[in-house]
C-alpha cells in the first residue's frame, strides 16, 4: 500500500470537510467489519438548479486504486443514469478521469464531483457512451429533457438515506 495514496485521501477528506460543497455529500464507505474503507467512496451529486437535472440526487461510487493520485479513481453511478456519456454499467466517461487525456494528480475529489455535476447537464457528444441517451438527445431534444426530468424526480431523496443522516 502506498503511503502516498492514503495520506492524500485523508487530506482530501479533511479538505472536503472544511471546504464543503453545498448539496454534495462525499465520504468513504463502511466495510462489513464496521470500519471505513478509505479507497472506496460514495458521493451524492445534486442536479444543477434550473436544469432538467434539478431535484435529482445521484449516487456515485468512487473507487481509488493504490496508485492514486497518479491514477484517477473509477467513478460509477449506482444505479446507472440516463446520460449520453455514462455507460450502461454506470461508469462515467469524462476527460478529467482519463489518464490519457486530462487527468492530473492535482485534480481534487472536489474537482471531480463538480466536473461530473457539470457533465450531467452538458453532455459531450463527441464521446458518447450510452446509445439510447445519445440518440434521443440528437433526435428529440424535448423528449430527452422530459426523460431527464422524470429521472431527476425518481432519483434519491436525500432525506431518505439513513447513511447520510448518521454520518455527515
Amino acid at each position: 500500500m502506498s503511503n502516498l495514496c492514503i495520506s492524500r485521501l485523508i487530506e482530501e477528506r479533511n479538505q472536503l470537510k472544511k471546504d464543503f460543497i453545498p448539496g454534495f455529500k462525499a465520504g468513504p464507505l463502511k466495510t462489513k467489519d464496521g470500519n471505513y474503507d478509505i479507497l472506496n467512496w460514495e458521493a451524492y451529486i445534486p442536479g444543477i438548479r434550473g436544469t432538467s437535472w434539478d431535484g435529482g440526487i445521484f449516487k456515485l461510487n468512487l473507487k481509488f486504486s493504490k496508485d492514486y493520485p497518479l491514477k484517477p479513481p473509477k467513478c460509477t453511478f449506482n444505479p446507472p443514469v440516463f446520460h449520453p456519456n455514462i455507460y450502461l454499467s454506470g461508469d462515467v466517461c469524462l476527460s478529467i478521469l482519463n489518464e490519457y487525456e486530462d487527468w492530473k494528480p492535482s485534480i481534487s475529489i472536489r474537482d471531480i464531483l463538480i466536473g461530473i455535476q457539470l457533465l450531467l447537464n452538458e453532455p459531450n457528444l463527441e464521446s458518447p457512451a450510452q446509445h439510447a441517451a445519445y440518440a434521443l438527445y440528437q433526435e428529440n431534444r424535448l423528449e430527452y429533457e422530459k426523460r431527464l426530468m422524470i429521472q431527476s424526480k425518481n432519483h434519491y431523496d436525500i432525506n431518505n438515506i439513513p447513511y447520510l443522516k448518521r454520518h455527515y
Binding site: N3, S7, N14, G34, L39, L97, Y100, A135, H155
Partner: protein, 601 residues
C-alpha cells in the same frame, strides 16, 4: 591459500572483517536474486537471510541459474540457498519461503540487519521494504532491471532520497471509452478480450451484485432498462451448453454491440467505422470448417507465429468458447460460485482471448497480431536478460562494500543503459530526500503494547495528543488513524474508540498511519505496533517526538503549454514522458512478472 586471500588484499583486512561480520537481508531470489546470492557468498559475506514467496517455474530456468529442471515447483529461496551453499559451504544462509509483508518479519527483525538488498519484481513489495527500512533505519540497496536496462541505488533515511520521494511511473490504465467503444490499437482489443469479454463470460460477476435495488420506490423504468441492457451478455448464459450459445454470444458482441456503436455517428467522424460480422457471415465462416490449429507438436510454434484469417479466428472462437463453457458448467455443478480468471499459460483461454481480440481488431480495421505476441501483451511478459541482472548484482555488492566502509558519499545511483551513443553506465549522485515526500519525511515510532488491553482511546489520549514533554507526541488538530486502507478513527467516526487493538485487528507487525490536520499543516506519523502480552505498563513508545514536523504540500504542477486544441483526442500512451533521464521510467520490473500494464477498470 584460502579463498578469501585475494579479497583480503583488495578490500583490506579491516573491511573484510566488517563484511564477514555483517548481516545481510536479500529480498527476492528470482532474476537479480540468483545472481546476487552467488555474488554474496563469493565475496566475503557470511550471514545472509533470503526471502521469496515464489516457487520455481520452467520459464525461470533460462536466467535464474541457481535453479534446475528438477527444482520446478519448489521454493525459490530454499533451492537458491542450497545451490549457493555448494559454491561456498562456509556461509550461513537462512531461507524463508514467505511473503516479506508477513507480520513475522517485523521491525525488530529488520533492525537485525546491517544492509537490506532488494531484488524484487513489484512495486508493492518495494514500497513495503522501503517503509520498513526507513522505520528500522537500515540502509537499503534498491535495484531493478528490465531487458537491457537496469539500475541500482542506495537509500538511507534522512541522507538520500527514499524509494517514494519521486513518484514512480505506473503503467497507464486504458480509459473505458477506448476499450469499449473506440479501440485504435491491437492492445485495446486484447484488453477488451481479456478484461471485458472473458471476464464477463467466465469471471466473477462482482460489479453486478452491487447495483442497488433500493430505487424501486417509483418503479424507475429508466434504471431497469439500463440494467437490463448491461446484463444482456450475462443473460445469454441461460443458453450455455446448447449449440446456439456460441452463435448468440458472437452475435451479441460482434454484431449487435458494434451496430449500436455505429449508431453513435459522432464517434466515427474522425475514426474508421467498424464493420460488424452478422450471423450469416459467422455461419459461413464455420462452414469452411478448417483444420484450425491441430495440436501436432511441431506445428505449435508455427501456429503461434501465424496471423489467422478471420474465418480461422471465428472457428477458433467457437471451438474455445465451447470448451470453456463445458469447463464452466462442470465447475458450477460443484461450486455455483465457480469462476475462471485469465491465465496466460492456459492454452484454451489464451486461444480464446487471441481469437476474440483478433476478430475485434478485424472489425475495427486494426492490425491483427499472432498469438505469441498477444500472449506477451496479455500476460505482461517482459523480457529479462541474465547479463543485465548479473551487472546490476555486481553493482549492488560494490555499494554494499562502500556502505560497510562508511563511504555512503561514494555511492551513486547507477543506470545501465542500452544506448550506443553514450556510456553504458550513467552515474548520478545520490539525491537528497524530497522535503515533500509523504513517506520518508514522516516520523516513525515503535509502540509496544498489549493488544488485548490497549484501546484506540488509549492511543489517542495517552500517546497522540499528550504533550511532548509528558512522553506523548503532542499532536493538536484533526486526527485520523488508519491501518492500510481502513479508517479506524477520525473526526466523525469514533465508534471504535473503546475497542482494544486486538478487537480492531491491529496485531503485532501492523502499521498505523496517523494524520493530524492542524489548520493547513499536515503532520504525518507512522506507528509500528509490537505486541507484548507480558508488558507491565501501558505502553513503551520509541522514537524521537521532536522529529515530528509537518509535511510540505506537494508543489503545484506547472501548467502544461496550451497545446490542447483537440481535447478529446485519444493518445496511445507510449509517449514516455521524456524527462531528464529516459532510464528512470523503466526501473521497476524484473522478470516475467505480473506487472499489470493493461488493466482496464
Amino acid at each position: 591459500m584460502d579463498r578469501l586471500s585475494n579479497l583480503r588484499q583488495v578490500l583490506g583486512k579491516k573491511l573484510l572483517e566488517k563484511v564477514e561480520n555483517s548481516k545481510i537481508l536479500m529480498v527476492g531470489s528470482g532474476g537479480i536474486g540468483c545472481e546476487l546470492l552467488k555474488n554474496l557468498v563469493m565475496s566475503g559475506f557470511k550471514n545472509i537471510e533470503i526471502i521469496d514467496l515464489d516457487t520455481i517455474d520452467l520459464s525461470n530456468l533460462n536466467r535464474q541459474f541457481l535453479f534446475q529442471r528438477q527444482h520446478i515447483g519448489k521454493s525459490k529461496s530454499k533451492v537458491a540457498r542450497k545451490s549457493a551453499l555448494e559454491f561456498n559451504p562456509n556461509v550461513n544462509i537462512v531461507a524463508h519461503h514467505a511473503n516479506i509483508k508477513d507480520p513475522q518479519f517485523n521491525i525488530k527483525w529488520f533492525k537485525s540487519f546491517d544492509i537490506v538488498m532488494n531484488a524484487l519484481d513489484n512495486l508493492d513489495a518495494r514500497r513495503h521494504v522501503n517503509t520498513m527500512c526507513l522505520a528500522a533505519n537500515v540502509p537499503l540497496i534498491e535495484s531493478g532491471t528490465s531487458g537491457y536496462l537496469g539500475q541500482a541505488t542506495v537509500i538511507e533515511k534522512n541522507v538520500t532520497e527514499c524509494f517514494e520521494c519521486q513518484p514512480k511511473p505506473t503503467p497507464k490504465t486504458f480509459p473505458i471509452c477506448t476499450i469499449r467503444s473506440t479501440p485504435s490499437a491491437p492492445i485495446h482489443c486484447i484488453v477488451w478480450a481479456k478484461n471485458y469479454l472473458f471476464a464477463e463470460l467466465f469471471g466473477k460477476s462482482e460489479d453486478n451484485d452491487e447495483i442497488d435495488e433500493e430505487v424501486t420506490e417509483e418503479n424507475n423504468k429508466e434504471i431497469e432498462n439500463l440494467k437490463k441492457e448491461s446484463q444482456a451478455l450475462k443473460e445469454l448464459y441461460q443458453y450455455a451448453g446448447t449449440p446456439e450459445y456460441s452463435e448468440k454470444v458472437f452475435d451479441k458482441v460482434f454484431n449487435q454491440d458494434i451496430n449500436r456503436l455505429l449508431k453513435m455517428e459522432n464517434l466515427w467522424k474522425t475514426r474508421t467505422k467498424p464493420t460488424p460480422i452478422n450471423t450469416e457471415q459467422y455461419k459461413k465462416a464455420l462452414e469452411i470448417n478448417m483444420d484450425v490449429d491441430e495440436d501436432k507438436n511441431d506445428s505449435k510454434i508455427k501456429d503461434d507465429q501465424k496471423i489467422y484469417s478471420i474465418e480461422e479466428n471465428i472457428n477458433m472462437f467457437k471451438e474455445c468458447l465451447e470448451l470453456l463453457v463445458q469447463r464452466q458448467l462442470k465447475g458450477k455443478k460443484i461450486d455455483p460460485e465457480f469462476s475462471m480468471s485469465f491465465e496466460k499459460d492456459d492454452d484454451i483461454i489464451m486461444k480464446f482471448v487471441a481469437a476474440t481480440a483478433n476478430i475485434r481488431a478485424h472489425i475495427f480495421s486494426i492490425e491483427q497480431l499472432n498469438r505469441f505476441k498477444i500472449k506477451e501483451i496479455a500476460g505482461n511478459i517482459i523480457a529479462s536478460i541474465a547479463t543485465t541482472n548479473a551487472i546490476i548484482s555486481g553493482i549492488i555488492i560494490m555499494d554494499a562494500y562502500k556502505i560497510l566502509n562508511n563511504q555512503l558519499e561514494e555511492c551513486n545511483t547507477i543506470y545501465l543503459t542500452h544506448d550506443s551513443s553514450s556510456n553504458v553506465f550513467v552515474k548520478e549522485f545520490l539525491a537528497k530526500p524530497n522535503p515533500r515526500c509523504a513517506v520518508c519525511r514522516k516520523s516513525y515510532f515503535v509502540l509496544t503494547i498489549n493488544i488485548e488491553k490497549f484501546t484506540l482511546n488509549d492511543l489517542l489520549n495517552k500517546v497522540l495528543i499528550k504533550p511532548k514533554d509528558n512522553n506523548g507526541l503532542g499532536l493538536n488538530g484533526d486526527i485520523t488513524i488508519c491501518e492500510d486502507q481502513r479508517i479506524l478513527y477520525d473526526f466523525d467516526f469514533d465508534d471504535k474508540l473503546n475497542d482494544t487493538f486486538s478487537k480492531v485487528k491491529i496485531e503485532d507487525g501492523k502499521y498505523l498511519n496517523i494524520t493530524c490536520d492542524d489548520d493547513d499543516k499536515m503532520y504525518n506519523i507512522m506507528i509500528y505496533i509490537i505486541n507484548d502480552s507480558s508488558l507491565d505498563k501501558d505502553f513503551i513508545l520509541e522514537g524521537d517526538s521532536t522529529s515530528i514536523s509537518y509535511i510540505l504540500p506537494p508543489e503545484p504542477e506547472p501548467e502544461p503549454e496550451p497545446e490542447k486544441t483537440n481535447k478529446r483526442k485519444h493518445s496511445d500512451g507510449d509517449d514516455a514522458n521524456n524527462k531528464k533521464h529516459k532510464v528512470i521510467t523503466v526501473d521497476i520490473v524484473d522478470d516475467d512478472d505480473k506487472v499489470e500494464t493493461v488493466l482496464l477498470d
